[in-house]
């Protein structure tokens, strides 16, 4: 097995183009499991650990160009694909609260020190914990090839099947562009214990008061991570018609529950060793109801803080 270790992004893209048999490795927390158990025998490994560009995060202001994803004039975090979860937790809790919350639940501390969002996207598991908050926030995945340059793919279009993504064989993931939170965000996950579990089901939501919109992300309950667009529109519409975005009044009885039911309806779960389809649907409805209740309470609190 050849070991290729480029030290710049340009070199990494060149190597990727030349060696279609190379498997990229970032934190290695997915790739190494496959290697140690002989599930994969790649001709080469392309180590991304020495590419400094991948390990940075920066803030781009909303006037700059990520267009549709950024809130009105809002800023966007450009999160390098190789930034480990531990740094997201430490650095980005305020800017990207949903992603940071999910990051705090990935694997174990040792896994979080190595594992990256780029690797989570590369594996594209339906159970990947970064995916629901990225979907809820309206993130965009930036991929690049030496031949065709940069492509920006909305997270909702990035996942194309079970453990499949929109990456072409000569492309690498450069970064994720995540709009900074302008309202409360929540993440919930159900597993058999607290640490080191693959989620049985997971849910993320984000309130976007600037555009009067609601974002959602469902994990482990469909062939790919996915949004619940009907639930998003339903809740945003109800909040709008009751004038609640301005008044920040209490949620009407039954609204959070009705939202939860619509989230569950958006899933297409299966029965497997981790849980039944029925349990997944049920738990999604509960997580969606709870998380929107918490998010709304936080939204009400924000007003009190501002006053």
């Amino acid at each position: 097995m050849d070991f290729l270790q480029p030290t710049s992004w340009a070199d990494a893209l060149a190597v990727r183009a030349e060696r279609s048999d190379a498997v990229p490795i970032a934190g290695g927390t997915d790739v190494m499991v496959d290697l140690n158990f002989d599930r994969r025998r790649p001709g080469a490994l392309l180590d991304l650990g020495r590419v400094p560009e991948l390990r940075e995060w920066t803030v781009e202001d909303g006037t700059g160009g990520v267009g549709a994803t950024g809130g009105v004039g809002g800023s966007t975090v450009r999160l390098g694909a190789g930034v480990p979860y531990s740094r997201i937790i430490d650095d980005l809790g305020a800017r990207l609260p949903g992603l940071a919350m999910a990051a705090r639940t990935v694997g174990s501390p040792q896994i979080r020190i190595r594992g990256t969002v780029g690797g989570n996207l590369g594996s594209a598991s339906p159970a990947g914990d970064a995916h629901p908050p990225l979907l809820a926030a309206g993130a965009v995945v930036e991929v690049e090839s030496a031949a065709r340059g940069v492509r920006r793919i909305p997270a909702a279009e990035f996942f194309t099947g079970v453990k499949r993504n929109a990456l072409e064989p000569d492309e690498l993931i450069a970064a994720v562009l995540v709009p900074e939170a302008v309202g409360p965000q929540q993440f919930c996950k159900v597993g058999t214990r607290n640490a080191m579990v693959i989620a049985v089901s997971a849910f993320a939501c984000a309130l976007h008061p600037d555009r009067r919109a609601v974002g959602t992300g469902i994990g482990s309950a469909a062939p790919t991570p996915r949004r619940a667009p009907e639930a998003e529109e339903f809740l945003a519409g109800e909040l709008e018609s009751a004038g609640l975005w301005e008044s920040r009044g209490d949620l009407p009885d039954g609204l959070a529950r009705a939202f939860g039911e619509r989230v569950a309806a958006a899933a297409s779960p299966i029965d497997d060793v981790r849980g039944s389809a029925a349990y997944r649907r049920h738990s999604l409805a509960v997580m969606a109801r709870r998380s929107v209740t918490w998010a709304w309470a936080e939204y009400q609190q924000d007003l009190r803080k501002a006053a």
Binding site: M1, F3, G27, L35, N36, S108, P109, N194
Partner: protein, 174 residues
Amino acid sequence: MDSQITLRVDGAAHPLAVDTRTTLLDALRERLRITSPKKGCDHGQCGACTVLLDGRRVNSCLVLAVTVGDAEVTTSDGLAVDDVPHALHRSFVEHDAFQCGYCTPGQVCSAAGILAEARAGWPSAVTPDVAADTVELTDDEIRERMSGNLCRCAAYANIVPAVADVARAEGVRR
């Protein structure tokens, strides 16, 4: 394919040729006979292989030896200075924080990692105020932060106070 590397472990440099597929854990144990990191599962689940890589705890079974480069590897053995046990070693003994001892070197490295992380203010899933500058290592925090280290003998009830004592001595716990 073999690759010529130099591993810096517990203060000593070890030049060696390794197959590119070799994990750091196997390089340490099988090639350098540094056996305090243990292999429990070989896939990141148990934490028995935990070492510090430039001061940060990692599962050495999930790190390829060829990717380590100049980083300093510290094993539980290396936490002892001039054969004087580290405060964590002593505390584990005093609290009887093990039975068979297989998980212990990993537990000790992980505990050394959490002391540094708490000082740096890294929040965890149970930290009440994630924006605070420092974190107090309460029992809940210790349990959550040690959750990547399993103990088949279930010495947890003694591991938590063993870590807590050292945390208190180091000022990250009242």
